[in-house]
Subunit: 650 residues, 2 copies
C-alpha cells in the first residue's frame, strides 16, 4: 500500500544552510551532552546489572529507552558523519547492553535487577514493551549504520521471546503495551530481517488493544489492585477505550497516540489493511484540524500530557511536549508514503521549524519539555509548570534524545521516490543521489530556506532519462513560481495534492527554480479556539514568529496590531539574531502610566504607538527569561460600526 | 482609633428587596441544609468524643470550625428572626460542644480523640488555633443572640488555657497559628467580656508571626521533620515570611491574609497602633489595586488558594474562593470603621453583589468554592479544576458556612455611627433605629437597588435634632443626584472620601432621595492584566454581568462588541431572570461555518452580526452547564489607523 519509499537519510547530505547548522550542533553538542548525562544519571551503567537494593541511582522503568534512543541517534550520526570516538562509545554501550540480556532473551535493567518479580505484570504503566521497542529501533539503526549485527541479534532474540509470551495462543498473555512504541519498532525489525513473525506480533499488539474485557483490568486484578486505579481511571489515556479500528479521534497521551498510529500506518502500508488506514486518516484529521497548535505541538494538557477536546489549545498553559511533535512527524511521514499529499508534509515542516526545534536551545545543550506559546515570568512557581527556561536534563528524559534522533535522521524526510519519480518534500540545502528510471540521479538543492523562498534544484541524471520530479508547493505559499531551465511552469494546474509534478526527459545541468513568495502572513485560528479569538500569529514561510519582552518590553498581551499596518522583514542585528529575518512594524499599546493605581476603570485609555519586533518562535528563551507571546491582539477597524459603515446599522 | 461603630446587624431590619430575598433563602434553605450536612458527615456528633480508631467518619482537623461557623450563622439568624426549633438545635449543639471541653479547658475533637499526642505540635498546618478562633466567634454570636453564657464561658476557659500555653513567658510556647483567625476572634471576646488578656494574646500572635528563627521550623524539628517540608516550602503561604509590620503586599493563602489583616485592623483600632494600621493599608492597597478580580474575588491561584504576583488574574483558571471574598469583606469592614472612606465600602459592595453571592445557587442549596470568571464545559476533567457546577458540599467545607454567617449578619455592613452622625454604606431595603445626638432616630430605606439607582431614605428622629447623615456615593456612579425634602444637594463639593455629609437639623418626615445614574458601563482593566487585554466587562451599578451559553450560544470568546454599540437594559423574561435587568445589544462574531475544517488560515473571516444578552454574574450556572464569560472582546475602531487618521502615519 505504500506508494513512496523515503530516500534514506544516509543518502541525503545536508550541508550548511539552516539544517546543516542545526545538525552540526546536534552532533557536536547535543549527542555528547546526552551521553554524559546518561552516564551521570546511571542510565548507562545500569546495564552492568550491578545495582543492589540500597544503592544510589536506582534504575527506572524508562531508563533503557533513554540509552536506546541515544544509540539510535548516534548511529544515524555515524552513518552520515563517521567518527571513530563516537563509534567506540556506541559499540561499547551496545556490548554492555548485549551482556545484560538474560538466558531467555529478556532484556530490561529495571525488571532484571530492581523488580524481577514484576516482569510483564503491569503492561499498562511500566513501559516494559516500550523500552523493548526502543531497543529494537536502536538495533536497526546501529545495524544499518555499522553493519554490526551485535545489537540486532540481541533484539531478535528478545523479540522472539516477547513473541512467545504474548499472543492468542494457549498459555500466552493477551497483553499489549500501555505506551505504544514496540509496534512501529517491530515493523522496522521485520523490514530489516524479513521475518514476518515480527510484523505479525506488531499486528497482534495493535488489534488486541481496546478489546473487552480489558487486559489492563485483568493484570491489575492479578496484581491485587482495583482496575480503576489507573491514571485518571480512564482507558482513553492509553488509546484502549475502543479497538483501534473504531477510534475516530485522538484521545489520551499525545506521544502514545503518535507512536501507536505511526505503527498502525506501518502495518497498513505493509499489509494493505484499509480499515487501519481509515482509522489513521480519521485520527490524523482530528489532530490537524482540531487539536494541533500552530507550532505543530500537540497534547495541550499539561496534567496528563494528553489531548483534551476539540479546539482546546491554551497558550500559557500549553504542554505540547517536544516528544509529541516528534511523534507527529513519525506519524505524518508514514502517512505521506501511503498517500503522497502535502497535508502530511506541510505538518512535518510546521513541526520541524517550530514546535520541535524550540525543544532545544540554539547551542543544543539545554532542552524544553513543554513548548509554551505564551509565557509570563514569575507565575510558574504558582502553577507548578516547568520554568520557561530550557533545562539541562529531566527526570523523565524522553525529549532530549528524541530530539537528537530526529535531527540525526532528518535527511529521510526530504525526499521519497518511486521507480520513476522523486518527491521533494522539504527544502534543505544539500545533495542526494537516487536511483531512478534505471539511472543514478544527482539532486542538489541550493537554498537559504526558510529565510527566503528561493530554492534551486539541480537535477543531474548520469544520462538523460524520463522521470518525474514532484516538488511540494507548501500549503503556506499562495504565490509560487517555478521555472525549469528558466522557463515558467504552471503551478496551479499542474498541482497534484500539493505536489507539482515535473515529468520530462531530464539531462545533466537541468535546473528547477522555485520562488516561493514569502510575505509576512497573519494567521487566524478557528473561532472555537477560544484562546486565540481576536488574535493573530505572524508566520513567514513555514516559520511562526513570536514577541519577546527583550525586544518589545513588558505587557506583550496589550500590544495591538492594526490589521492594516504594514509589517516589514529586516535582518536581525544583535548576536543571536544576526542575519535572521525579524518582523518589524508599528503597533499600539495602552500607557500603563495613565492608569496610576487603578485596577479597573471605565474611562478609556489612550493608545500610544509602539514598534514591535517579532523573532522566529523557535529562537525564544535564548536571551534570558521574559514574557513571550505568539498570538498577538489584532484590531480590524473595518468590522466596527461607524458613521457611513452600513454594518453599523444592522 | 476606630472612628465609627457599626450599627449591629440585629438593629437593621432587612425586608423584601434584593437582600430581603437572599436572607430569607439563607434562613429557610441554606442554614437547615448546612446543619444536616454537618450532621450527615459526622461534624456534629464528633463532639460526643465517641469516635474510636477504626470507626468511620474520622474527625478532621477542620471539623470544629464547620460546626462553629454554623452556630455563628444560626445565632445571627436567631437574633433577627427568632425561631424556637432552630434555637433548640443551636442550644443542643452548644451543650454538646461544652461537654467536649477537657479538664484543662482544651476543646478540639480531632486532637482529643484522634491524635491527642499531637496537641499543639503543628500550629503551621493543623488548624488547631483556627478552630479555637471559630469557636470563640460562635460563642460571642451565641451569647449576643441568646444571652446564654454557656458557650461564652466555655471559650473563655479555652482562651485562658491557650493564653497559658502560648506567649513569651518562661515555659510557654512561642507559637502562632499557620491560619490566622483566632486573632480577630480574641478581639471579639475582649470586646464582649472586657478582659484585656484576650486582646494581649491576640497582639502576641500578631507580633510573633514571621520572627526568626521561625517557630514553624522549630516545631517541625520537634516533630522530627525537616522544616522545608511545609507547603510549597515557603513561609509566605502563611504570611510568616516577614514580621507583619514589615509586610507590604498580600502574599500567600488568600483567606489567611484576610483573617490576619482583619485581626490586625481590630488591634490597631483598639490600641491605636499606627504601624499595624500602616501595614493594613499597604496590604489593602496591594490587594485592591493589583490583585483583586472585578467580582471582588481574591487569591487567583487554584493550586495553593493564594495570591501570586501583581496583575495575575486568570479567568478560566481563577480560584477566587468564596471564603476569600468573605474575608475581604471582614478586612474592609474593619478598615472602614477606622477610616470612613468609600474605597472600603465600594469593595464590600463589589464582593457582596458579585463574587460572594455567586458562591451559592439562587435557591441557597448548592455552593461554589471557586468563582470562575470564564468557564468552558468539558475541560475540567483534564485540568483537575472543580466542575463549574455548584456542589452540595465539600470535603473541606469552609465556604458554605462562611457564606451563611456573612449573609445572616449582613445588616452590620449597612450603617455605622458616631455620637452625632450616621453613615449609610449600603443601599438595602429596610429600616433601623439608632441613638444619635441623644435621640432615637429611625432610618427607613426604600429601594430596588441594585436593579435601579433610586434610594429613598426617610430620617425620623424622635424629636428634631442636629446630626449628620453621611451617605455613600458609590465609586461606580458618575452621576449622582441627591435631594433632601426635594431640594437638590451638591454632590461633588460636599463629598468627603466618597460620603456626602448631610448635616442639618433633622425632623420627622425628612426625606433624602438618591438618584444614582446607573448606565451600562464597560469596564477595562489595567494593561498589565494580560488576561483581559482587548476585553471589557459589563457592569451596571455594582453588578458585574456575564454572558452565558444559554442565552448566547457557543464560542463566547469570539463575540466582539464594538465600542460604539449601544447596550440596552431590559427586564428579563424567563423564569429565573424574570424582572431582573439584563443587558442586550448587537455584536459580531465569526461564522464557524465559513471555516469548514481549517484550524488555521490567513484568509480573513467575515463577521456576522449577532445579539448578546448579559445576565448578572452571580446568577450564572443556575440554568445548567455551559460556557460563561465575564471579559468580552471589544473593538474600538477609533484607534486603528486608516486613511485620514493621523495615528496611521505615526
Amino acid at each position: 500500500m505504500r506508494r513512496l519509499v523515503p530516500v534514506s537519510f544516509d543518502k541525503v547530505h545536508i550541508e550548511d544552510g539552516f539544517w546543516g547548522e542545526r545538525l552540526r550542533i546536534n552532533r557536536e553538542n547535543t549527542l555528547p551532552i546526552q551521553y554524559s548525562r546518561c552516564k551521570a544519571t546511571g542510565v548507562i551503567d545500569a546495564f552492568r546489572l550491578e545495582w543492589k537494593s540500597g544503592d544510589a541511582k536506582t534504575p527506572h522503568v524508562y531508563w533503557d529507552s533513554d540509552a536506546a534512543k541515544w544509540i539510535e541517534a548516534a548511529s544515524y550520526s555515524l552513518a552520515t558523519h563517521p567518527d571513530a570516538r563516537l563509534q567506540k562509545k556506541v559499540n561499547d554501550l551496545v556490548d554492555l547492553i548485549a551482556s545484560a540480556q538474560q538466558e531467555d532473551g529478556y532484556l530490561n535493567c529495571y525488571f532484571t535487577i530492581v523488580a524481577p518479580e514484576k516482569r510483564w505484570s503491569n503492561l499498562r504503566q511500566e513501559h516494559e514493551l516500550y523500552c523493548a521497542g526502543h531497543l529494537i529501533e536502536a538495533a536497526v539503526a546501529h545495524y544499518e549504520a555499522t553493519r554490526s549485527r551485535t545489537l540486532l541479534d540481541v533484539v531478535c532474540r528478545y523479540a522472539d521471546y516477547i513473541d512467545s509470551v504474548f499472543g492468542r495462543r494457549r498459555g500466552q498473555q493477551r497483553g499489549y503495551p500501555g505506551h505504544a512504541e514496540i509496534e512501529l519498532a517491530l515493523v522496522k525489525l521485520y523490514r530489516v530481517t524479513g521475518r514476518s513473525n515480527y510484523l505479525d506480533l506488531a499486528r497482534y499488539f495493535i488489534d488486541e488493544r481496546g478489546r473487552r474485557p480489558h487486559y489492563f483490568d485483568k493484570e491489575a486484578r492479578q496484581r491485587g489492585e482495583a482496575p480503576a486505579h489507573n491514571i485518571g481511571e480512564v482507558y482513553d489515556y492509553y488509546q484502549a477505550h475502543l479497538p483501534v479500528r473504531e477510534q475516530k479521534t485522538a484521545e489520551g497521551h499525545a506521544v502514545r497516540v503518535c507512536y501507536l498510529y505511526a505503527g498502525m500506518a506501518d502495518i497498513a502500508a505493509e499489509t494493505g489493511d484499509k480499515e487501519l488506514l481509515a482509522a489513521c486518516r480519521s485520527v490524523w484529521n482530528n489532530i490537524v484540524k482540531k487539536r494541533m497548535y500552530i507550532h505543530g505541538g500537540i497534547g495541550s494538557n499539561r496534567f496528563r500530557e494528553r489531548f483534551t477536546i476539540d479546539y482546546d489549545l491554551p497558550n500559557e498553559e500549553a504542554y505540547a511536549e517536544t516528544c509529541a511533535a516528534v511523534g507527529l512527524v513519525f506519524f505524518a511521514h508514514r502517512m505521506l508514503q501511503i498517500e503522497p499529499d502535502r497535508r502530511y508534509s506541510d505538518v512535518i515542516e510546521r513541526a520541524l521549524y517550530n514546535g520541535i526545534i524550540s525543544g532545544a536551545s540554539l547551542d543544543g545543550k539545554r532542552f524544553f519539555y513543554d513548548n509554551y506559546l505564551a509565557s509570563f515570568p514569575g507565575t510558574h512557581r504558582f502553577t507548578g509548570q516547568r520554568d520557561p527556561v530550557r533545562q539541562n536534563w529531566f527526570d523523565t528524559a524522553c525529549c532530549p534524545p528524541n530530539f537528537a534522533r530526529l535531527l540525526a535522521s532528518l535527511g529521510q524526510y526530504v525526499y521519497s521516490q518511486t521507480a520513476d519519480s522523486v518527491f521533494v518534500h522539504l527544502f534543505v540545502n544539500g545533495e542526494t543521489g537516487i536511483w531512478i528510471g534505471g539511472r543514478d540521479v544527482r539532486l542538489v538543492q541550493t537554498t537559504q530556506y526558510p529565510w527566503n523562498g528561493n530554492v534551486r534544484i539541480d537535477v543531474s541524471p548520469a544520462s538523460p532519462a524520463t522521470f518525474t520530479v514532484a516538488v511540494r508547493i507548501p500549503g503556506w505559499c499562495e504565490d509560487a513560481r517555478v521555472t525549469v531551465n528558466g522557463e515558467a511552469v504552471a503551478t496551479t494546474s499542474g498541482l497534484s495534492r500539493g505536489y507539482l509534478k515535473l515529468r520530462r526527459r531530464w539531462k545533466k545541468g537541468d535546473r528547477i527554480q522555485l520562488r516561493l513568495y514569502m510575505p509576512v502572513e497573519r494567521v487566524e485560528s478557528h473561532p472555537s479556539v477560544r484562546h486565540n479569538c481576536g488574535r493573530i500569529a505572524l508566520q513567514r514561510g513555514p516559520v511562526v514568529y513570536c514577541l519577546e519582552q527583550k525586544d518589545n518590553g513588558k505587557d506583550l498581551h496589550d500590544v495591538l496590531l492594526p490589521r492594516q499596518t504594514k509589517l516589514a522583514v529586516q535582518a536581525g542585528s544583535a548576536s543571536l539574531l544576526k542575519g535572521i529575518p525579524v518582523i518589524v512594524g508599528k503597533a499600539f499599546r495602552r500607557s500603563a502610566g495613565e492608569w496610576k493605581e487603578a485596577l479597573y476603570r471605565t474611562t478609556r485609555s489612550g493608545l500610544r504607538p509602539c514598534r514591535i519586533k517579532a523573532i522566529p518562535y523557535f529562537m525564544w528563551a535564548n536571551r534570558g527569561e521574559g514574557e513571550m507571546l505568539v498570538w498577538i491582539r489584532e484590531v480590524d477597524e473595518s468590522v466596527a460600526p461607524r458613521r457611513g459603515n452600513p454594518r453599523a446599522r444592522t
